[in-house]
Point group: D2
Chain length 316, copies 4
């Protein structure tokens, strides 16, 4: 049986201004701090179940060190290692605890140039009594601070890798399904929304030749339960003095969004709600042509247009 | 005791494509048809209490014939007539029934060039059993069709009248309070939000020299109860194939909005929710300077910018 | 010209557990602390314009000391004093500053037994830079803490005063309009929703013979902008370990509600959104008969039934 | 490789008053009619992708004929047949087209007594131009009529089958995961929330000895995108003269709900939003004890209590 990925795990972010980043993610976005080890901070949303879905550590500039996925089964970590080595990929091992809360992991560079980590074991982490939800199925009390999203949703990454190689890697090596894409009539993918779950995307990938570096990170997305919560988020961002894009609704994924940039790391965060789920076992990729890209990006509202879709990203 | 205006009454619209206008206001906006007399249609929202808040009749082009306000007391209609005649305004009388449902009224041209009607008596109009709300304080069942706003909120009109004369007329002759305005440091008003009620505006007025005609009509605004209803309205407009602006939030009035144009008459409709009420008896006008106009117009979201704020309007 | 009341001003609350009350109103309800003088706390919502809309001071038990309204004009304070003295009411004077932020006021006992204060002058109070909204028309940043309602809405009070005397006092002496009521067919009012503003009620009054004391206080109500905010409030209350009633929707007023009790004072707070406004100058009281009371109270949802409507209240 | 179920497919309902049922599901709930074959009606929500998610045909009384699931792969239909026959279950074959839009299927009685159908092939069905969404990834225009939910969510069924046999069948034979349950300390399940997807439940199962018949059907649940949509649904139900339970929020699943009964068939419909998704590959069942059942059922709001949870159901 082929190894499989179960879910997006976490993003390992470096920030050149750790104080600003912590203030942004903790007070404004309203993530919960799970653990702090020296200057490394581990965050998750109140409804996330894993030890963390975002780590932040100091660095010379804002960048994403790696993107981490969780496998379906314990043995899948090694099975992936074997499979990828067989294809010529160089695999590093990160022993359990290399990242707090995360078990034995493998790391490698995807065809897109992004550094990927795969793990299975993860701490769920105990929650202090005063922060714990009264619900047995919810980690923290909701609405404790700031925007207060429910959970990690997806990532959006960019690459200058040529052709469809970057997309193919996710599909063929990691088992993602291409749910929606923007594709030229001669088969060149311009953007792809891919998942291993019923979400329309766990990973969105955009290939763009003109990137400064091969692999870039466009945004990490956290989920809110309701559109009213997203409009409240807009108020909070505005009162925080931060510029943002949105609210708007994507046609692709049908989700309602805001985009704002962490002033510490330069990392973009998407706040996200609505959208549809794909339970169909025979889902056929929804193909948008380049001339439909504007509609695909924006069903209505304040939009991410042309350049702003690409720039700024941070190195990944 | 000086005569007073109680509330905005209705807008008398002419449309050059009456079928399109009726389809738009009845099926998409979701107003209730109160009465149809020949080719004249009388609409109100499900929570409006008067006979109609919008009338539509056929005409050679889209235009607003008059804007109608209701006085506080029956005697105020004649008191206003006397007061305005004393200032040299020409007053016409529209006997009861000239407009279905509306009692004896006076009509005159405001300093802004807009044709204004004042009346007191109005039919409340019986509602057919199957359309009547189960609530004793609500006219129709809500959510019967389309966007389904609760009630008329305000109008926005433009004029090329010079200086502050147009604003002064509303304040001095009709008793409006200037709640917010955009004003140059030497006292020239560029826009004013005025009311006789605790709403931030029953009337917004913009003076702009470059208008084709003296008096123009920018939009009629209908109120929705909740921001989620406004996002639903955006879906409905998009699926109807209509272009629109928003969602966004004004700083001035703090309301969340969409703008869409009736394809029959060219009349712009604002869908509107949120905002604040002014109960303070000593309210001091909030003054925005020209350089704050962008913030005043848009707190966040898809915005009405520069030209689109002015054009297109229809003649009034 | 008869003196008039412009708006509900504030409620002066005493609490037997001031720490609990402050934690409740500041952290959970999310009111803004304007001023603290010794052990007296002055709160308002982020969108309130006056110095405070709720004061809390320590006392031997939870009770409302007085309910304060603001007059339309400065001279109305003395005009009301004169008018009420003429009817035999005993009027006390509270010189400016007796209550921080509040100018010269008169105090008297209404026919319902409630202690009423009337004032005109009030401090607007400067806001510290970091708490001030980026909006020129909004006092504080919204969403700073807890439920974070926009503004004071209304009060609900109970009396054992016989017949309709308590209602008549508000209507005849203070100029309120009866917008909706529950009334027997022989004209005995069981409950009345009255206002001096377009709100359906600034004051709801319930006469009930069996009260322990003549004058009781049922709830103070704060307004939220959107129904989604009210459901978020339910989450916050639940996670705070507080019992509450709702969400539900009243037929009378058409508003959506939650009810929760301040654990310090025993004072009930209503969180409130939706509803309708009355701009009609000839509004006819909506009369609900006793057999319609259940529908009048509850259009849908978790309801305030029979006894819980009355009990517990606190002394006023 | 074991056969697997991909998703809940549809519910086959019989109604003793087909006109009432059609009016209810089409005009009030706002499902889309896909096809009508004689007196058999096929409905789906605007965001459902399959031919139908609810069929309604006339019958002597309201009952559910079968509940249908879709397999992950084409070959899984026969693999399930083989596996179940091996355990002694009697398998019937429904050739392609037995149900319009549905391919070759197998049918059998689950340990709970419910009639289950499994199929893989399904028509997606073309949509008429005027009903088709402008979105390439959405079937119909949303908000065309009534409450207008997005998609089928789950079913809730009851059985009088003893012990845990009914639960075990879903888990062991059909591959469901038990996500949350109410269980006595000696291991007797009282209720279980099970899924083959990241939804907390595709199927909720309640074992209750006192049922009139072995297998009962409690409700079919349709999903709405936002809590505001659910409150709008409450208004629509109230104005339709239908009684309903809610709004409330379950602790189990964390979803917000309304319950209403189809006046034609007696079948209960849940309108549903919010909740959480389970992507964790090592999810541990959340166990609620009988004394926690009230909290498990109701986080807040108008609740399903004691008897009403069980009664009325319809035969299945």
């Amino acid at each position: 049986m082929k190894p499989q990925i179960a879910q997006l795990g976490y993003v390992a972010l470096e920030s050149s201004d750790i104080e600003k980043s912590i203030a942004f993610f903790q007070k404004i976005i309203g993530l919960e701090l799970t653990e702090k080890v020296g200057e490394q901070y581990y965050f998750r949303a109140w409804g996330d179940f894993q030890h963390h879905t975002l780590s932040i550590s100091p660095g010379p500039k804002g960048r994403v060190k790696h993107i981490s996925f969780r496998t379906k089964r314990s043995e899948d970590v090694d099975l992936f290692a074997k499979q990828l080595r067989g294809k010529g990929y160089e695999i590093d091992i990160a022993e359990a605890g290399t990242t707090p809360g995360i078990g034995r992991a493998i790391r490698f560079s995807a065809a897109s140039g992004h550094r990927i980590e795969l793990y299975y074991d993860v701490l769920k982490t105990e929650v202090e009594e005063h922060r714990r939800s009264v619900l047995k199925n919810q980690t923290y009390k909701s609405w404790a601070n700031g925007i207060s999203p429910r959970r990690l949703d997806h990532i959006n990454i960019h690459t200058s890798a040529p052709g469809n190689t970057a997309y193919d890697f996710f599909i063929e090596e990691l088992g993602f399904r291409m749910n929606e894409c923007i594709e030229t009539t001669d088969g060149q993918l311009l953007a792809g929304w891919m998942s291993v779950t019923p979400l329309v995307h766990d990973v969105a990938l955009v290939a763009h030749e003109s990137l400064e570096t091969t692999a870039r990170f466009h945004h990490i997305s956290y989920w809110l339960d309701s559109s009213g919560d997203l409009l409240r988020a807009a108020d909070i961002l505005k009162e925080s003095g931060l510029e943002f894009i949105g609210p708007g609704k994507h046609s692709i994924s049908q989700a309602i969004y805001l985009y704002v940039i962490d002033p510490g790391s330069g990392c973009r965060v998407e706040l996200f709600t609505g959208g549809y789920l794909i339970f169909e076992p025979d889902w056929e990729t929804i193909v948008w042509r380049p001339e439909e890209r504007a509609l695909g990006n924006t069903y209505w509202g304040d939009s991410i247009t042309g350049n702003s879709l690409i720039i700024p990203t941070i190195e990944a």
